[in-house]
């Protein structure tokens, strides 16, 4: 339990510390994690000082305190954003991440002891491959077997640490890092000893993993890959191999941002560094782009190693807007709008965004107002304008017009000018449209325009067709062809497929990727679940794993920091561009072809590589969740891994609690009532998507159909997939399908693969072996990916190199449903569908997510709490309604305080769970992936997402803890809970989250005060109390609950009990709660 606590605390602490302690660049890994946390948590934590206190506690408890320090270090560094500092940070971060990852892996391993044998095999293979360390990592993390894996991991860890140190030493920056790492290591060891775990390293890893899980998959991913690789390879060698590479990122203002990163660093590491430097929170709209060998601009995949994407020796990247928000006014922060303005000015100046003369003039005048302020008739002459590049070809007449208009903006603040700029720019017809050259079926030159609303077809400058996302059933590519399957119209009977010829395979894939990303970001509430890695999948399993717009918007609502100061330097930049500075050129070039997503590789290789990378990344990110899910599924098995999972989940829960509760609340009620299996999915979706009602019904309907269809599909796919695996590179081998058949949703995350389920693992191993022989790299990647699209259960995937079903509807039925309702509904349905599919497969997972909508103004709503019970039942075999309830509560308890009793219980449960998992394994795994999917997107940035993730994780964790038993009855009672735990942390004006956890023998109360300062100066304070009564059969829950409520009311008469959730889990053999 200590580990758990530590992990949670770490997570929380890190952000806090980071804030508090600006300066220490210690560990890279920690830094990364911290960064992520900072981003997410920062919003919350910044707001609430209380967190700091929590963090202090966490420090005490954990060795992790060091990591936290590290974390603080990065944050502190962030503000300065000085190149040297960043470099140091980068190095340091790398080192720690490895360690963390390793730990995480080890942790996972123990939990998933059952799986270990198979997994180990996978690991071994991975080791042999070496390059595929990522896979191995993922596998390790996910699959690490109890004893053996741990040992291996420990070794690895030990090795890794030395390596890291050595590396650090070798490098200039090494000193700081080494010290940091050394400290951390011992600390970790100590903890390990305390815990009495066999290996300190494993513990450390576990802790790290927990942290990573909490923080989010991204971090884990980044960290893990390295660690995994190291593990696979000889640790000693690994340490030596760490090399730092100097990246140069061209910022939107034209400046160069040098950043030293580890050679194996993933894209997101660099991206976070950049965002950190920019002090950017709403970063989901942005991305890093680079030029591939064909001089095409590609998006750096954050989940993959930079090294594998950038082919050229010079690591030249550019920071760009990736998703143009259709309504920039909905952006929360001015700095985000400012960066969008910079991007648009580039787009306009480069001609990528065509404008009329008048628009050029108007936008230019706003640019002047934003950068120069009011027009000064005395000093400002026409020549001052010529420094600004307002249009691709700028005439004197235009400049005069600009000045004329500039005069009319007097008194307008820079932020207002930016807003006006965006309000006009967003109306331009080509705003946010990413154009790609193509030919139609008749060989006519056309342009494919990918945008927020769908796919646009242009011939010359004329729009000749448009396919809105709701109209598109599937997106795929094969060789150099790009296909979209169109939903039949009102008068049409059959769906049709439209094909386009791209110049080459790479460009076809690039378009496909952009479509997948844009569809996911703009249309879905949550990212599509990544394909699971269990089964080998050929072809690209690429999926957008970041936050969706809906998620990032929700997350943005939690941003409550004083507007960061930033200097507007666009004009300078522009002038440079005029001068022909290389930087500008880069940017322009990028602008011209921004859409592409990292296609550095050859088509065949790319597919495999990309898929593998994505899969790996996803897997890593998902690992934690998957684990949880596995645990959930496998309730019977209890292992250290489980414990670790719980820890991670708890930490996640905390986050989720803090972050999620406000957002999700509204839907919670609805969710409760519905209480249908579909609801669980809904919960996730709800967290992201406000409209619960529609979701619920839809989800229900869809779930059944989906599950059925998916099953069928999976079955069919499975057979085909296996055969296809070796043969076709592009083909997607649905590994998961084999396993999946049980779970309607075939989507298995790589983690899932790791899971104890022997069946799943076996196929994977087999596949891996085969692949290794033939296509080592590709296969590896594929293997890693296991998360493949198979979940979609599209048999088609095999045929096509890359398929993507925008609707996410596995079954046709779902699609139909979608069609009927309006687009919004469709979206919701889609979202639901995905999760549902995963969860639903066999048993209907009952997920009760209680999200309490927080009363906006100064209302104190005691939250009984958002307890999300994910009931991942393995219905197939037994009558299981496993309700994973009270996750948030549990989590906080475990984290904040180490309560032996609780811990013990949790552990027991965990152990039990694994067993269950074994039973339910397939279905569970499938479900898990779904959860994972949800979790992944949120991982990095979006609070919403994180919340959802956390919920899921929490749910899973909770389930494991509380309801280890297979047979669990979940009762949800809503009552008023208002307790005072002494955490009155909310401070006006700042968003403060203070959690005070009081652990009594049976009752744990978590009080969260969230005070938000609204723009208008109004403050909204929400006090949420969660009272978690954890008890075994011996406890009279009703009494305990009544008592708790009574106390809460006494303490807070003003508070109302919004929910009482009682989850009763009855274990078949062991306990029966009531």
């Amino acid at each position: 339990m200590t580990t758990e606590v530590g992990s949670e605390t770490e997570v929380k602490k890190e952000p806090e510390k980071a804030e508090e302690q600006p300066a220490e660049p210690e560990r890279p890994a920690t830094n990364q994690t911290v960064e992520v946390k900072v981003v997410e948590v920062a919003e919350q934590s910044n707001e609430s000082p209380a967190l700091a206190t929590d963090s202090a506690e966490a420090k005490e408890n954990q060795e992790e305190a060091q990591p936290a320090d590290n974390a603080t270090g990065p944050e502190g560094e962030e503000p300065p954003a000085s190149p040297p500092a960043s470099e140091k940070k980068g190095i340091s971060r790398f080192l720690p991440p490895w360690l963390k990852r390793q730990k995480s892996q080890s942790v996972v391993g123990p939990k998933e002891s059952q799986v270990t044998p198979k997994e180990e095999g996978g690991v071994v293979l991975v080791n042999g491959e070496g390059e595929k360390a990522e896979q191995a990592e993922a596998e390790q993390t996910s699959s690490t077997t109890a004893a053996e894996p741990q040992v291996e991991e420990e070794q690895v860890n030990g090795e890794a640490d030395p390596e890291q140190k050595e590396e650090v030493n070798s490098e200039e920056h090494a000193e700081n890092h080494s010290t940091g790492s050394a400290e951390t290591q011992p600390a970790k060891e100590e903890k390990a000893s305390e815990k009495s775990q066999e290996k300190s390293a494993a513990e450390e890893e576990k802790k790290e993993t927990e942290e990573g899980g909490e923080e989010k998959k991204d971090q884990e991913e980044t960290l893990k890959p390295e660690g995994g690789r190291y593990f696979i390879k000889s640790p000693l060698k690994l340490t030596k191999k760490v090399k730092m590479v100097m990246c140069h990122v061209i910022m939107l203002d034209g400046s160069q941002f040098p950043c030293e990163v580890e050679k194996r660093a993933k894209g997101q590491y660099l991206f976070f560094k950049v965002c950190e430097t920019l002090n950017l929170l709403e970063k989901d709209y942005f991305g890093l782009s680079y030029k591939d060998n064909a001089d095409q601009t590609c998006w750096l995949d954050p989940t993959k190693e930079i090294k594998r994407q950038i082919c050229n020796t010079s690591w030249q990247l550019a920071f760009n807007v990736k998703f143009y928000p259709p309504d920039p006014s909905q952006l929360t922060e001015d700095i985000t709008r400012y960066l969008l303005c910079l991007q648009l000015r580039h787009d306009i100046a480069s001609g990528r965004l065509p404008c009329s003369f008048v628009t050029h003039s108007l936008l230019g005048s706003y640019s002047l107002q934003a950068e120069l302020g009011d027009h000064d008739p005395d000093e400002q002459r026409l020549d001052y304008i010529s420094d600004f590049q307002i249009a691709p070809s700028q005439t004197k007449e235009m400049e005069e017009k600009v000045v004329e208009l500039h005069k009319t903006h007097r008194g307008m603040t820079p932020a207002q000018a930016d807003t006006q700029f965006l309000e006009n720019a967003k109306k331009l017809s080509m705003y946010g449209v990413d154009l790609h050259h193509a030919k139609d079926s008749e060989g006519v030159d056309i342009m494919l325009g990918v945008c927020a609303n769908g796919l646009l077809i242009y011939k010359d400058r004329l729009r000749i067709n448009r396919f809105a996302w709701p109209k598109i059933l599937k997106i795929s590519y094969k060789r150099s062809n790009f296909y979209i399957k169109i939903r039949p119209g009102e008068t049409e009977q059959f769906e049709s497929t439209v094909g386009f010829k791209l110049p080459n395979h790479r460009s076809a894939k690039r378009v496909w990727k952009v479509c997948v990303e844009n569809h996911t970001f703009f249309r879905l509430m949550t990212p599509e679940a990544p394909t699971k890695a269990k089964f080998l999948t050929l072809g690209s399993k690429f999926r957008y794993s970041g936050r969706t717009q809906a998620q990032t918007r929700q997350a943005s609502t939690l941003i409550d920091r004083p507007a960061p100061y930033f200097e507007r330097t666009s004009s300078k930049r522009i002038s440079r561009s005029l001068d022909g500075a290389p930087v500008i050129n880069m940017i322009e070039a990028q602008d011209s072809a921004p859409t592409s997503v990292g296609n550095g590789r050859e088509p065949g290789l790319e597919l495999s590589s990309d898929s593998s990378k994505s899969g790996k990344l996803r897997v890593q990110g998902e690992n934690i969740y998957v684990r949880h899910s596995n645990l959930m599924l496998e309730d019977l098995d209890k292992t250290q891994e489980d414990v670790l999972k719980h820890q991670a989940s708890t930490s996640e829960l905390k986050r989720s609690f803090m972050e999620d509760t406000p957002e999700t609340r509204p839907s919670q009620w609805e969710k409760r009532f519905t209480a249908s299996p579909a609801t669980s999915l809904r919960l996730q979706a709800q967290g992201r998507s406000p409209p619960p009602t529609t979701q619920e019904p839809l989800s229900d309907l869809t779930v059944d159909t989906v599950s059925k269809s998916s099953d069928d599909k999976q079955k069919s796919d499975e057979t085909t997939l296996q055969a296809a695996e070796v043969e076709i590179e592009e083909m997607v081998v649905v590994e998961a399908i084999r396993v999946a058949p049980k779970g309607s949703v075939t989507i298995t995350t790589p983690e899932v693969v790791v899971t104890p389920e022997t069946e799943v693992k076996k196929p994977e191993e087999e596949v891996k072996e085969e692949v290794k022989e033939e296509v080592k790299e590709e296969v590896k990647e594929e293997q890693k990916r296991p998360v493949s699209v198979s979940s979609d259960s599209h048999s088609e995937s095999e045929e096509e190199a890359g398929e993507y079903h925008p609707q996410v509807t596995v079954s046709t039925s779902v699609e139909q449903i979608k069609e009927e309702p309006e687009e919004e509904e469709k979206e919701e349905v889609d979202d639901h569908e995905e999760p549902e599919q995963v969860a639903e497969p066999e048993p209907l997972p009952e997920v009760e997510v209680e999200t309490m909508p927080s009363p906006a103004v100064v209302e104190e709503t005691p939250m009984a709490e958002p307890e999300t019970a994910l009931v991942v039942d393995a219905p197939a075999e037994e009558e299981r309604t496993e309700d994973i309830l009270v996750t948030p509560e549990e989590a906080p308890n475990g984290h904040a305080e180490d309560q032996p009793g609780l811990v013990a219980v949790e552990e027991e449960e965990e152990e039990e769970e694994p067993r269950v998992n074994g039973d339910v394994s397939h279905a569970e795994t499938e479900r898990i992936p779904q959860v994972i999917c949800c979790s992944e997107p949120p991982v990095v940035k979006t609070e919403m997402v994180t919340i959802s993730d956390t919920f899921a994780a929490q749910k899973t964790e909770i389930a494991t803890k509380e309801v280890p038993i297979v047979h669990t009855e979940t009762k949800t009672i809503t009552y008023e809970a208002a307790q005072l735990d002494g955490s009155g942390d909310g401070e006006p004006g700042i968003l403060m989250t203070a959690q005070t956890i009081t652990s009594e023998s049976l009752c744990t109360t978590t009080t969260t005060h969230i005070t938000k300062t609204l723009k208008g100066g109004l403050s909204e304070t929400r006090i949420e109390k969660r009272i978690v009564i954890t008890g075994d059969s011996d406890i009279d829950h009703d009494q305990a609950l009544a008592q708790a409520i009574k106390e809460a009311k006494e303490q807070h008469p003003d508070m109302s009990v919004t929910r009482v959730v009682v989850h009763k889990e009855t274990e078949l053999a062991e306990e029966g709660e009531d």
Binding site: C355, S356, S429, N465
Partner: protein
């Protein structure tokens, strides 16, 4: 910039008188009544000036140009940019001269379609194939307007999406549809119009209210949100479209101005053929 104002905010209308040669096109004698046509023209211009409150600029009729009254074809105006089109018929291209002068006098930025394309075979574009909705352009690809012409339009009005839609043989886009409000499209109930409408709905990013009228003659109206901030709709009178008038009455708070154009209809013209609507009020 793009569409800062909703559709329909106009301040000026440019018309051209009915020549004596009205109806004598291509040596085909039609049964048009010149006097009646001139009366109807007078009613129209009177409504625009006195009821709607637009500043009316009337270009004198030119007997040499029998179709010059169809001034809509000669220019496409959005904002302060006027694209002088290139009519399909060679003999109509001289009609642009007077219009070009007026546009310049109104301080509009004049863009020449012919000048850019230069050739004889190249782009053709007529305003009656162009529907501007305030948000985007639809260009009907017809016998009189080709893709090249639409491309020039798209290049001229870069802020806006320009979509091409098919129209039935023998008809013009404005024959089957017109704007009935800032977000309202009035469209004929014919099969061809439905087909075009479907395509428009697929191509657009926006949502338009669709007012379907049972008679083709009623599909072309002139909507103006006048300086008085009132909504005016000039539509064919009951005599010309008895079944469609009730549909217009669904438009709430509109001032309906029944305006006859029976003579122009005989020549394939419609209400909007008579006028070019311009907004010269600065909108920033």
């Amino acid at each position: 910039m793009a569409s800062v104002l909703p559709y329909g905010c106009f301040t000026h209308a440019v018309v051209r008188g009915i020549p004596e040669t009205f109806g004598k096109v291509d040596n085909e004698e039609t049964t048009t009544d010149l006097a009646k046509a001139q009366r109807q023209f007078g009613v129209l211009t009177g409504a625009l000036r006195q009821k709607v409150g637009l500043q009316l600029i009337e270009i004198p009729a030119d007997p040499e140009l029998p179709e010059s009254w169809r001034i809509e074809d000669v220019a496409v105006i959005q904002g302060d940019t006027a694209l002088i089109t290139r009519p399909f018929k060679q003999q109509r291209r001289r009609e642009a001269e007077a219009v070009r002068r007026v546009m310049s006098e109104l301080n509009l930025t004049v863009v020449e379609l012919g000048a850019e394309e230069g050739g004889s075979v190249g782009a053709t574009l007529e305003g009656s194939d162009v529907l501007f909705t305030g948000r985007e352009f639809f260009v009907g690809i017809s016998s009189h307007t080709n893709h090249r012409g639409a491309e020039v339009l798209a290049d001229t009005f870069r802020d806006f999406t320009v979509s091409t839609v098919p129209v039935c043989v023998g008809t013009r886009l404005k024959n089957i549809c017109s704007m009935g409000g800032p977000d309202t499209i009035i469209i004929s109930n014919s099969d061809g119009a439905k087909k075009t409408l479907r395509m428009m709905e697929q191509l657009t990013d926006h949502h338009y209210e669709v007012l379907t009228v049972p008679e083709g003659a009623a599909a072309n109206c002139v909507y103006v949100r006048g300086p008085s901030k009132m909504d005016f709709l000039l539509h064919p009178p009951t005599e010309e479209c008895p079944d469609s008038v009730p549909a217009f009455q669904k438009l709430t708070d509109y001032t309906l101005l029944p305006t006859a154009c029976s003579e122009a209809s005989k020549l394939g013209g419609h209400l909007s053929s008579f006028c070019l609507l311009i907004n010269r009020k600065p909108y920033f």
